[in-house]
Symmetry: C2
Subunit: 341 residues, 2 copies
Amino acid sequence: MPAPTLKDVADYAQVSRATVSRVLNNNPTVNENLRLRVIEAMHQLGYQPNRAARRLRGTTSDVLGLIISDIENPFFISVVRGVEDAAYQQRMSVVLCNSDEDPAKQSMYLRVMQAERVAGLIIAPTHADESQELAEMSRAGMPIVLLDRRTSSLNADAVVVDNVGGAFAAVRHLIDLGYRRIATISGSLKLTTGQERFEGYRQALESAGLPLDRTLIRTGDYKIESGYRLMRELLSAPHPPEAVFVANNLMTLGSLRAVHEMGLRIPHDVALVGFDDMPWSGQLYPPLTAVAQPTYELGREAVRLLLRRSTEPDAFFHTVVLQTRLVVRESCGAAIRQEKS
Amino acid sequence: MPAPTLKDVADYAQVSRATVSRVLNNNPTVNENLRLRVIEAMHQLGYQPNRAARRLRGTTSDVLGLIISDIENPFFISVVRGVEDAAYQQRMSVVLCNSDEDPAKQSMYLRVMQAERVAGLIIAPTHADESQELAEMSRAGMPIVLLDRRTSSLNADAVVVDNVGGAFAAVRHLIDLGYRRIATISGSLKLTTGQERFEGYRQALESAGLPLDRTLIRTGDYKIESGYRLMRELLSAPHPPEAVFVANNLMTLGSLRAVHEMGLRIPHDVALVGFDDMPWSGQLYPPLTAVAQPTYELGREAVRLLLRRSTEPDAFFHTVVLQTRLVVRESCGAAIRQEKS
DNA sequence: GCAAACTGAGAAAACGATTTCTAATTCTCA
DNA sequence: TGAGAATTAGAAATCGTTTTCTCAGTTTGC
């Protein structure tokens, strides 16, 4: 039993295919009687329009491409959900791909997107993206929105969070609580997020007249293991820090383990503030103080930018910066220290 | 600049469109010289076949639908990844939808899938799915694979984990460590996963000749808050349990918080085993003993079943049951107790 | 050496919608 | 009442592929 086509509906309702199409697309030039007859026929037959055919003839596709760099990072889950919800409201579907921080895989998926003739593309470019592919697609008229990270090789719409401001608020909070020797475990400086969070850390120290101490700075790779290793290094040093700002969620988990294994207590022996608030952050031991990112909004906003670009292809590029929020729990020691500001 | 079409390639290579199509589909009946000429032309023009047109004409679509019930549950992330990877190897793309445990949203997405004319559908049906839609689609010839959960309203291929065995192993482990008063915080008994994990708990007690004590059984809804509330209830009772088996990841987080807030220690005052091992399980305090599910495999296996059904539509239905593994860390007290088996 | 079988590749017909023409009505107003 | 405008809906072209049909040219079998 093949699925009913528009022609079947037309035959059943005894009208032409064009009329059925008009009803389908809410063309007002169709008589109410006929309209009802066609709708009745569609119901009777359980008709669903074939998207492939529609896309082939119509100029606008209703599929939207989303390429993220690491589906296993919980950060992206909520982003995906934001994109999906916003797209659904526009009756668009989302094709999701995962580049795994692998430039080869990314370029493969870019080709798939091109072949799919997607209406637009939302992408968190991989680590060190030097490829010209994105720029070429953009020049060829494909609406593109950069998500979370930016890349030097492409001028385009982008939606990012205020990494500098978020990191600044976190470190400033530690300073206001009276900590002076504040270390950081930063992310890769090849990613804009890594650079910016480090910059926030630097500015916060500067704003309080504190020196930038090389021995308190460690650079990781956003994975659990590097957080563990770098935290051990920091705490084993002759003159360990009083507090640490960790620049992402997974490295924070590794840091916690290191502290516990060394038999130290948080925040009494060392205070901790993380970047990225997760559903389980409040259930860690101790509950984690962290910079919350508007991940869901990030996704929604990306779709909004994409739609704007589709309708106004020549508008100036926008970069939307979403604000973060510091969620204070116990790992920073706010409850046990006097705020000295 | 419109994208080049097959016709453009044909003109450029001075052959017919049919020949280009044959080259594209590796039809061996085309002469090597022509083949090279066509491939060269495709390169020159940067040609990418239009999937919409291809899907329209061809009988087989290369899009695979995936409907999950809660994208915010970390459990599904790895499942999605498994599906995606397996699909990619078959050069298929995945359209991902999130029903949010909402039957209305699920039925909406089912219609989208039907309209997309997807090659097949992998679905974790929502809570209490009584709809006939799935059964109808199945009867209409759509290959369908049930994921993680089953539903009474449809006989179809399914891939699930051995919930009974996993729960049994977890509780049996507690028994072997010498615990006798073992409680459970179970999931909704409307879901097959909830029922089966409870059944594993029951069987483990029975196998050791322990009574099923109503006061030690609590039923939650798989959310953090219910884990928190139910654990407080259990521990405030006049005769609290020595150990607790919690039937999902989020409720486990809530349970941990409850124990900590009440000033009790794990595993000294109460031991804990969870269901579903997560990347952060080892970094909780204390590191969590949990039943690990082969989530990635779950996804891969679902794709495999789907492809088999596409090629052999009339084969008998299979249910693939994947085994779990108990990951022993510290929350069960294995390190501090003598195993008495 | 002639009929039959095989090869390779073009012409043309699908696929299921949308959209542009176009023609048949109905309406409007002098 | 009749000419022109407005409305309504059908016929046919179109989108970019795949697939079937066809046919010329070549090979094979006896």
